[in-house]
Symmetry: C2
Subunit: 353 residues, 2 copies
């Protein structure tokens, strides 16, 4: 029997499984999937991937790679190499197949001089997100490739991109066009080097485009992460139906304010994160509201929402019906705006149902 | 020798000490201070309070009370009682002096029936923040007091308020006027009941008003929390000078983009939280930038700032001078927008210097 008395992430294992199966179904081969595990950071969820045939993963930090290295022996750290963590990188690469990401020749030279075991290396290409990466025309790309061309310790893996600008796209059409453009850029640069490096691949990320696209081909490898849970942000981008959202935060109700249709929950910024969405009138929502039946939920109440968050408190604006139904001491569910942030905060308070 | 290789909270112990001493100096007696420990959640920092004469504390969850109960024997949980945690409340109240907070008769009746040891009870009064609490005119106040009047297990402690609306005030004058108004409300309701309960007190929170006010009297007890560290939000409210901010997040530099004056740090929303401030042109800042000398800092560079955050990445917009000075592999400091949220995320990666 589950006994929840503080904010906890309820993970619907059936929805998780369906979300993974749907993504795999779009691929030519499950081998082309290297899911990003930063979203869930959970061994239980990682086992579902394993059962469904996934053999390799992506993470976004050395710490996460260490956490998963017990169970996964092919890991890409999709984050520019932090050279200060060279000791941990060397420990990891002794044990597993480790792929790193670079975007500067200085880092590559540092790696050449300090790596103790063989690693795979991707060059990060910026396809328009403007966070990290080199443009495909940057001469530093060829400088890096020349540096590692004859390396015994660095194995050139190919080109990797994360099209994070899909998150600010205004339509699913725009998202697909970002994906197409990234495909042109990555294929172009791969073709330029394929003769010298016949095994290089293109690796592409982001949940919105991988979810909205009907077929996943044109890249050699796909690294979506958020799709395992989805969230309200993805729902508004068109990546998923609201029924696909696989996590809800269970929060104890601690007070009711009938005069202003507000319910106070134990569940604040330290549990849900302060991510929000704004409507056209600048009203913020920090989450949607659901009710549990045996820790399962169905989104129905479109009136109620999470209006504000402080460190431990949440204020729900609620429908009259919900106000009357819910008592102090009951649990209410919140569908998170951004499940990656919420799942990270509730890592130690997660329950797979 | 300190060896930092991932995002870490650097706590300047001298500044912490000065911030606490300055707050104590405004009080008639250090006994009137019951600092809120939700900001730091750190045993090291709690020891500095102890050395400076503080004997009692505030927390915002049962979990935090459990964490501090080993070292502190007088704790107020300033959060509406979560009746689902009754077992932990009973364990705590066996060991320490525990004060709880209520705002509904239902919760009080539940406590009467389920408490196993004596606790102190505050009634939460809403002085205008509109998050939790009863208005001083609400008849539920007298209903609650009648219920516990002859209780053997619940000891009526008095009235408690948190004037969180100071955080959205437009001037220090407005902050002081909120404090004055809260004083009138709490004193008024205390005077109404003091004859029946000669030992009841008024307890008042919030860092902005306690920091801006020159003298702290008129309430019987003060519960500021954030002042121990302060942050950019408090600086803009006028609560502190920028030199008073006692924490900076050390983040490894992982990439430089000279063409757009941007530096990429290992340090994202999972380290700093996604709190931001917006200027008049809707430009967001997620933190100010400092450089370390032996893990101490001085804020000087008013051009550079933390422009955006994803899960693990931060993008700094930087001055040309900083771009030239900083190398991949060096550490850069970020003064957080909201130190309570940042310190919570970096609880396990904190260093007191």
């Amino acid at each position: 029997m589950i006994n929840i008395n503080k904010p906890s992430l309820i993970i619907d294992s059936l929805k998780v499984k369906l979300n993974i199966q749907n993504m795999i179904a779009k691929l030519d081969d499950v081998k082309n999937l290297r899911p990003h595990f930063k979203t869930h950071q959970s061994k239980d969820v990682s086992n579902i991937f394993k059962i469904l045939g996934v053999k390799k993963i992506t993470v976004s930090s050395v710490s996460m790679a260490k956490y998963f290295a017990k169970d996964w022996n092919d890991i890409t750290i999709a984050f520019p190499v932090n050279i200060l963590e060279i000791d941990d990188i060397n420990k990891l690469s002794r044990k597993i197949t480790l792929n790193l990401l670079v975007e500067s020749i200085d880092t590559v030279v540092y790696l050449q001089n300090n790596l103790k075991n063989k690693v795979g290396l991707f060059i990060k290409i910026d396809t328009g997100y403007n966070r990290t990466g080199l443009t495909s025309e940057d001469i530093e790309v060829s400088t890096i490739i020349n540096e590692i061309r004859n390396s015994n310790i660095i194995h050139f893996k190919g080109f990797l991109a994360h099209a994070g600008h899909t998150y600010s796209a205004k339509s699913t059409k725009e998202i697909l066009s970002i994906m197409d453009n990234s495909k042109k850029i990555l294929s172009g640069i791969k073709n330029k080097y394929i003769h010298s490096f016949p095994n290089i691949i293109t690796s592409y990320g982001d949940t919105p485009s991988c979810s909205i696209s009907d077929n996943l081909n044109g890249f050699d490898e796909y690294r979506p992460g958020n799709f395992v849970y989805y969230d309200i942000m993805q729902y508004h981008l068109g990546s998923c139906a609201i029924e696909d959202i696989a996590v809800a935060v269970a929060c104890p109700v601690v007070a009711k304010h009938k005069s202003r249709n507000e319910i106070i929950i134990y569940g604040g910024g330290v549990h849900l994160s302060k991510e929000f969405m704004e409507d056209d009138n600048n009203n913020r929502s920090y989450g949607y509201v659901v009710e549990f039946t045996n820790y399962k939920w169905k989104y129905q109440d479109t009136v109620s929402y999470l209006k504000s968050l402080s460190q431990e408190h949440g204020i729900l604006k609620v429908s009259k019906e919900l106000m009357n139904r819910v008592e102090v001491g009951s649990l209410i569910g919140i569908l998170p705006i951004h499940s990656c942030m919420t799942a990270n905060l509730l890592r130690d308070s997660s329950i797979l149902v």
